[in-house]
Amino acid sequence: MTEVIRYEHVDISYKGKRVVHDVSFSVEKGEILGIVGESGSGKSTLIKAAMGLLGKDGLVTRGDIWYKGMDLPDLKPREMRKLCGTELGMIFQTAGSSFCPIRTVRAQLYEFMTEHKKIKADVFENQAEELLEKFGFEDPKRVLDSYPFELSGGMQQRVGIAAAMLLNPKILMADEPTSALDVTVQKQVVEEMLMVRETFGTSIVLVTHNMGVIRAMADKVLILHEGEIMEYGVTEEVFEHPESVYTKKLLAAVPKLRR
Amino acid sequence: MKIRLIFFGILALALVIASYFSEYLCPYDPYLQDLGNAKAVPSAAHIFGTDRYGRDMLSRVIVGSKTSIYSTLLLVAFITVLGTMIGVFCAWKGTWVDTVLMRISDVFLAFPGLVFALAVAAALGGGVHNAIIALGAISWPKYARVARSETLAQKETVYLRAAKLSGCGTWKLIFKHILPNITGPILVTAMLDIGTMMMELAGLSFLGLGAKPPVAEWGSMMSDTRNLLTTHPWVTLAPGCAIFVSVMIFNLLGDTVRDWLDPRNGR
């Protein structure tokens, strides 16, 4: 298997305060890595750093994030932009709010595509419809016609995943993709992401505090506490034989999980 | 943030105190005419020069602060209290009283800015007092609105229901629980309004609908001396700058108070 992305001794500070310290891990092709931690543990910050979304207050102060021989934090915004969406995709906790509320899904997906390559409107139309069908939407035209707020929460999330896959990125960064959803819809979204890995061979970095979702999806898991790695290993092993005290406490706090 | 608040607070307070004791602060009698020394160029003796009757401009500007600053503050204080009372009353009572009062405030809000104030001033005749009534008439609805919506929000809170269930009386509920919780937004509205009111009061006086000459008031002083602008600009510019500086100080204070009370800034 080939390595897709590698974090090496990454430190991230936010407003001068260190929130992530000495984090190293790597993700291979088609692998799903789960990053678990409480809110404020710095888990979202980790993936935002790779996407160049830390904002003006956040900064990678030490270490590298390697992707295809490029150190992502060192890239100029212009170069970073070209990778976003094409090489690195992202899905958000509430996909609905990651779209502009007063423009249709079609307009925004078309804009997304034309920002990265020249494409005719009808070609785009076909591609988008085909993709949405793959994601189980029966009436892709209607989805494209809608404004984001017209879709239900689960639909928004699935459109969000489909949108992220539009340009077939190598890695999908998922920031709490199930946390805002009902349990039944959560299951659907989990299946959707597994399908993505199956069909496109995409690697997924999944950030969540939901141990159930991790157990159901992740090949490897990384436990983060106050910006530092507590445990990092194959999911099964971490769950069955946790080594660190923190992981044990975390697992004990979770109600019975059986696959 | 805190330092800024204290700094502008002291500055504004100094301005208010100075305006209250303005009579004792001026170097000359602001109403004493000295035609022999009319339209004097600014000098060490008369920093802002003298007007066409030879009155010392500095003294007139200082005394003018009494009308301009002090009256404005009284006005803002008055409409804040009145508007808040109406707003809280409406929110508390609900029913038709609320509807009627809010419709009335709608009507007042339907008049554009100074137009209604002009009409009130015209109906009552000139004079600072009438100008203040005119401005009060156009600005109370804003406070009533803020107080009403804040009170309604408070009424819905769990703690207020708890207080009510534990047998707290109406007055106690309003004074001990509601008022302390709604003062923030109202205070911000009021602070930011001081500058605007000052300018509008000066505007009415400028039109001859507020203070009238020879009473020293910045707006009317500017209007009174405006034909000297070409030849003796300081006579007009001095009261203008006085308005500018005081409005700026109160605006800065207002902005600071707003930032300070803004929960997003996490004190």
Binding site: T94, Y147 | G113, V115, A122, A123, G203, G240, F244, V245
Partner: protein, 314 residues
């Protein structure tokens, strides 16, 4: 949407009644005895009989509400009485002066838009950096200057020192309109730029901006196609609200620059206690303002898909 429009029009009725009633009542209380006032203003001595006859003719011996009803009826047919000063009918006089004020208002709004929208956006995107700080400084200064003071400063600078524009208007011409329009625009831009900045900044901090960034959309495209489209709604609403301040503000500026519009008409009427003229001014300015607000509101509903499609939660 249709239902909403109808609803808004129905809401307008009590407001308009309130406006007219308030204007009427105020002027009637002020000019308690219109007839004596009228003759006094014309400077003629008359006997009590003539006064009584005139009162009966004007219906002033009738109860207050009936007088109001009559006045309202007259207003609807364009009859708002005669000026005490000139004896000419008020409404046509008002109408003849209105275009001048509208020209002035339009010109200053255009100037304001041209200045404050680009600079407001610039300030928002350079948030807390140098251009933002400079623009905020200017906007702050502008906010603390009363418009009559701005008028004098501009006169001193543009007309007297640089001799670019005429000090006092020589009739309703575009050339004479520049000074008063510029004055109004200075005060309005200072306030409006701040609001534009705040509106854009609010959108700029929303999640969808980050979403678009994660999709690799260029900042320029995010700003113009997404953020601006959303904040335009707020910007338009705020513009309409500031028109209210503008309409009131013209009165002072018109009389400073001797611009022959309704504002100057009203200020002159106030000094002369010419109540019918003041009444017409107050009522019509309020009606214009209410209509402007109504149009804005409908436009807002038309433009925002969330409201247009009847979804309350976004």
């Amino acid at each position: 949407m249709k239902k909403y429009v109808l609803h808004r029009f129905l809401q307008l009725i009590p407001i308009l009644l309130g406006i007219t009633f308030l204007s009427f009542a105020m002027m009637r209380l002020a000019g308690s005895d219109v007839v004596t006032e009228m003759y006094q203003n014309r400077g003629t001595e008359v006997s009590q009989e003539i006064i009584d006859a005139k009162r009966a003719e004007l219906g002033l011996d009738q109860p207050f509400l009936i007088q109001y009803g009559r006045w309202l009826g007259g207003m609807l047919t364009g009859d708002m009485g005669e000026s005490y000063m000139t004896g000419k009918p008020v409404f046509p006089t008002f109408l003849s002066k209105l275009p001048a004020t509208l020209l002035l208002t339009a010109l200053s709004i255009i100037l304001t838009i041209l200045v404050s929208i680009p600079f407001g956006i610039l300030a928002a995107v350079t948030h807390d950096k140098i251009p933002d700080l400079i623009l905020r400084f200017f906007s702050f200064i502008g906010n603390a200057l009363p418009n009559f003071f701005v008028a004098m400063l501009l006169m001193q600078l543009l007309s007297i020192k640089l001799q670019l524009l005429p000090v006092i208007s020589d009739g309703v011409t575009l050339k004479s309109a520049w000074m008063p329009a510029l004055t109004l625009a200075v005060s309005m831009s200072a306030k409006y730029m701040r609001q534009v900045r705040a509106a854009v900044l609010e959108e700029w901090n929303k999640d969808y901006v980050q979403g678009a960034r994660a999709r690799g959309v260029r900042s320029r495209v995010i700003l113009w196609k997404n953020v601006m489209k959303s904040s335009m709604l707020t910007i338009i609403t705020l513009l309409a609200l500031s028109i209210g301040n503008l309409l009131g503000g013209t009165a002072i500026i018109e009389s400073i620059f001797m611009w022959d519009g309704v504002g100057k008409l009203a200020v002159d009427a106030i000094t002369m206690r010419d109540y019918p003229v003041i009444q017409a001014y107050v009522v019509w300015m309020a009606i214009i303002y209410v209509l402007v607000n109504l149009i804005t509101d409908l436009l807002y509903h038309r433009l925002d898909p969330r409201i247009r499609l009847g979804v309350t939660k976004g």
